[in-house]
Amino acid sequence: MSGEDVDEITKIVVIDSESVLPSDAAMKIYESDVDITIKETCFGTMVTGPRESVEKVVAEVRALDPNHVFVKQRGFPPGDKRRCRASRGGGPRPGFHYLRNEVATLPIISRALDEYETYNPAEKKESPDKISPSKLKDIIESEL
């Protein structure tokens, strides 16, 4: 591995925004003058490099649209032979399905973060109970 004493980390930046595109985030990262490696993916970007540099860049990208940019650390660096599909004969990499599943939930989380400051759980509407089959039957028959 890249070894040495440098504390290298990889972070995945996932973008779920209407105003910031993954390419905008990538440009922001390219603009930064730190020594990092970037890989653009369908979800956003992966940033690899010394911990401080990565955290600085990621904070800048997050600042573009704080409630719609999500970040997590990744164990393997991009292109690692144990994960990269180029060397594994294609197919999704391990961990892809989980990420895709969570990405589908991100719009809900983003909207919730937007409204977090004003959200009041006391006002939460009770979800109605399930209607009983007999009552449903009565309703259907009454409409006829």
């Binding site: 591995m1 890249s2 070894g3 290298e8 980390i9 990889t10 995945i12 996932v14 999500f70 970040v71 997590k72 650390q73 990744r74 164990g75 393997f76 690692d80 032979k81 144990r82 594994r88 391990p94 961990g95 399905h97 989980y98 990420l99 599943n101 969570e102 990405v103 939930t105 991100l106 809900i108 989380i109 909207r111 919730a112 973060l113 409204e115 977090y116 959200y119 759980p121 939460k124 509407k125 979800s127």
Partner: protein, 151 residues
Amino acid sequence: MAKIFIYPTNSLILSDLVERFGHKPLAMMEKIREKITTVGVDSPPLNITPEDPKLGLKYASVEVPAGVRGRMSIVGPLVDEADAAIIVLDSASAFGCMGCARTNELTKFLARQRDIPRLEVKYPRTDEEGKDFVYQIAEFLKSLPKEEDGE
């Protein structure tokens, strides 16, 4: 800044929310990074050493499959290290690499056994549930001490 154990242990949403509200997520990814950058652990596609199932004996008995013990050698220390825990239930995606049901059960059990603040919520499916999800997690994280207690 408290160390928060998250379950699912590789969750993007939880990892992000914990960091966003000023704490440190104890996630699987950091441990995996440590493992793969350790010299000598480089035999693809394996990323554990023969020692790991032995370390896992602290958390699971010798009768369980080595895979459970191997996983617990990574997850167990995270639970031990945590100052608080957030467990998200009903994860439809607890499959694949995450899908060892016995490890997942044991992980949740160990987190519940520890005498630390704990929040258990369900994955949101609707906007209304999402608001509640984020609100509960945010309020829980805000209730935890921000400063190091100087242990």
